[in-house]
Amino acid sequence: MKKLILFSFILTLLFCSYSYSQTKRGADSIGTNSKIFNVYSYKITEMPIEDALLYVANKSNVSVAFSKDIFPKNKKVSLEIENSTAKEAIETLIRNTNTNLVSISQNKFVVIEKMKAPEETGSIRGNVTDSTSGESLAFSNAYIKELNTGASTNDKGIFIITAVPPGEYTVVVSFVGYMQKELKANVVSGKLTQLDFRLRPNSIEIQTVEKVGDRLAESNATDLGVERISIKDLEKLPQGVETDIFRSLQYLPGVKSTGDVSARFFVRGSPSNQNVVLLNNIPIYHPYHSLGMFSSIDPEMINNIEFYKGGYPVEYTGALSSITKLISKDGNKYSMSSKAQISMLTAKASLEGPIGGGSFLLTGRKSYNTRILKYFLDDKNLPIDFFDASMSLSFPNLFPGGNVKIFGYFSGDKLDNASPKEADFKWANKLFGLNWFQISQESPLFVELNFYYSGFEGEAIQNLSSIRPQKNSIDDISLDVNLRYVYDSKDELDIGFKIQEVRSYLEVQNLAGITKDISGPKGTNIDFFSNYKFLRYENIGLDFGTRINLTRLATGKKGSGFFEPRLISTFRISDNVALKFGAGLFTQEIITLSDEDELINIFEPWFITPSYLPPSHALHLTAGIDLKFSKDLIMDVEVYKKDLSDFATLNDRKIEDIDNDLVAGSGLSYGIEYQLDYSPYPYRFHLGYSLSYAEKNANGQNYRPRYDSRHSLNMAFEYNIGEGWYASITWNYYSGLPFTQILGFRDQWKIDNLFETGNIFNNLFPYAISGERNAQRLPDYHRMDLNISKNIELGFMKLYFDLSLINVYNRENIFYFEKTTGKRVNMLPFLPTASIKAEI
């Protein structure tokens, strides 16, 4: 029924947008918000034509571009009309000239000479890179000065502007932290003009504190729920023990930290295992080190981050909640360079440089001293050893217009307890991928092919502890091809397909030492997607499409498929106000088996949703408003509702061994998020607040799940002091997470032998009497961190010093209480940390 409503809604919107696009311009001028349809009275007497055009433009609040050369010298015009649109007035003014009026958008016009046919246009495509390294600059802004229209670069640093009237233009590209650059473009009708922008890093003081996506050139971008973060943003935040990509996400409203001791995060009332992390489009199943304390992805290898809090586009799949897309750097294309960094936990190094017409990047990180981790775990020693390494080979022109990237990533964690009474753990990720991004030389067509393998292995080794031994592995091999075509109208069409084969293995062992594979069998999924971006009007953006899954992984058979329709829209009311709406159906087939009542799931195995359960689905509905009060003050508000069905949940009423481990539950989450950014250089203030509710139903029981966090408030103040000094202060507040109180104990008779049912006293064991599930809340969490950093240039070497003070006022934030003793265990106390990085 929900799917039906969603389909109906999308169809209605499509019909409405189609009807709108078919309406004759001006036919219904009164009562619309569009400036072109507003009518005015104009009275002009013997005014130079150039001034007359500007007068009309100003009065009707539209922009008109023209070259003075196209009008006869000293030509004067008069005009007296009533109830006319700007377009009609301009057309009247230029009636007796050798010019035509071209509508670029609803409120933008160009007056050109008549011999240039208005329907004949060209396109500009640009590639934006860092001039020192050749690294792509994703999400930078490009615009045509004369037309005041533009686009932003994609995650590969490429932009395209279509429907440009022939002529010579100035194209300007800007990106935070870099010098703005202008290039001349001679646009020829029916041709694609290629520009290559190499931006020079701003050597004075960089305003990296802004989010790079905040100044998108496209006013109708369908970017609801998307956050784009540059690595430079990350480095300005208090680092804690390690700079961590996932912890930086936790400053965003709607994203809730699971605590100091874990980098896992909840997004909009969903558990952490409903977030998918893509590294170069490859899913990484266990992107954590040290029992989940830190992200296993070294920020040094990352170029940019796109984070979708929900309602993500149709080109992505496999997550009920959020997608974190990480794109790695290509490596320095011009010269060899290296970096080394040491923190209180790890040492890391990277090497990059040109190779055979392309570039390479090698990164590596290794823990060397885990003494500091005892602060995370109540002074308990954590003998963990971990590493991660990556390699990337990038060839930007292996074929004409073809960029090929080969990528590999490995990480491993090992927890070897000295005492045989404690369990040991091992985890490892292996990723290997090939990305081929092809640009058509003749048309605005992009083709991207990804072929990858992602493997995860984990093992819990029992030793003499009570931990159940488990072994888990997942092997995911996929091939996907995506095509994007950009029409002259600016509309875009995306189509693609994906073939994915996943093999999962989850071996558990009982007390008798007997092992059993309880995972689903290997499965194959074949799916297609098609998406249309309706961007032809500057104040309307509509992005709609669907994914069609022909099979599901658990069966791999035809007839078990499903649809995932999506819709994202933007309606810009004015230059400063945009309304946004999104809806979509999302599916997750690869899940984890974990006990959600446990605060830390040390071992969280991944496997395919078994065939006895349908795949988990989520219906997202999101609406938002973006407000831009000034160049420096931006605010946005979003509301969301997320309806989860067939939510794979641990069966807490498993009686027999042959009973299923999982049951299909349902969930609902909803909330409101507010974000404000005030960035008068050299300061920046960020405030994010969210109010959210989550509930869950499984086995007929309705309850608040552990990730039901009510209030969340994050504030950050950053100050670029100058001369390489940088300071920031952050304060985070979360209302306490739910927990279940213990109301006492009773004796439970453990019947080990039904032949002997007398004298039970030696077989009585305590059984905790629980209160209403998750009806109570832990105390609120709050923490203030300070950070100061200094960059120094010493000839050929750059040095970066960083000092952070974590939990400045030593707040005792509760981590958990021990169920056996009632002892309270707190999270991080006041903790100063430091790191130093050298770059050659």
């Binding site: 488990q470 309880i518 008779w749 709050h782 009632g822």
Partner: protein, 320 residues
Amino acid sequence: MKNMILSFILLSFGFLFISCDDTFSPKGEFQEGYTLYCVLDGNSSHQEAYLLRNYNPEGLNAEEYNLDRTVTGAQIKISNGSTELQFDDTTEFNESLGYSVSYYKIENFIPSAFLNQTVTITAQTPDGKLLTGNTNIDTKHINFSASTKKELPYDVSDSLRILFLSDGLFQFTPFLLINYREIINGDTSYNKKEVPFDYAETSSGEISIYPDYKLRNRYSYPIANIAYELKKIANAKNPADRIKILNLTLGILQVTNPLDIYYKTYKTFSDGFSIKTQEPNITNIQNANGIFAFKSISSINILFRRDWNNYFANLALEQL
């Protein structure tokens, strides 16, 4: 900008102030209550019931709580509607616990007296609470099939098949024990070696790794598995000539609901492949927790035929 910094700091401390309420306890208000366990034994005239009260240890360390929580002074009765029997309140010193415990017992009561009837247990606690529970005494009179061999031949391609003469399927778990006698230093001990249940082939298909209760009316044990267990006795005991193999005990154990579920839940939790952290609570006692159920065992003895001696020469098959 100074104002902004000031506002930031004030706001932070404002929130800090309002969120300073750190009162929190992992323990809620103590829930008073009782647990009653009583499994009537169909093979005995001695029956016992156990009444325990909830307890509230210091902190949450229940493992270290070593005070007596058995209840004395309660009135516990069973009744079939017409006949009522009262358990005797008994207190004894328990050596392993190190203190006296209370329980309730009835002597000279064989549950088959209430055959095919519903029996109710009531427990009136000293503070006036009334706990109740019901169970059925519906043990079937088991007749093992005449096809069951009285003497088991050594034929490893065959099985020891058991078929019941009763009508339809009924719920039970089978067991098979090898009875043997061991003489050490002149002392004789009588022992049993179980042929594991997972060797059994039953009419209900898949079985658990531990005894489970299923609706069935037949089952069989491959003779090869019995031989395998016999070999294990021979290999484990040194010298093996001190061992005298006696016979096999073939039997079934019947229990009534919800004892079977209670048992399965515990075994699944402790021996199965579950990853749960807390087992579900199973009870059929009103106003309390616990179990009131009935169990009975039916069995026959089967001898090994002479040809087993050819393969287990080092063991003395006493019945030969």
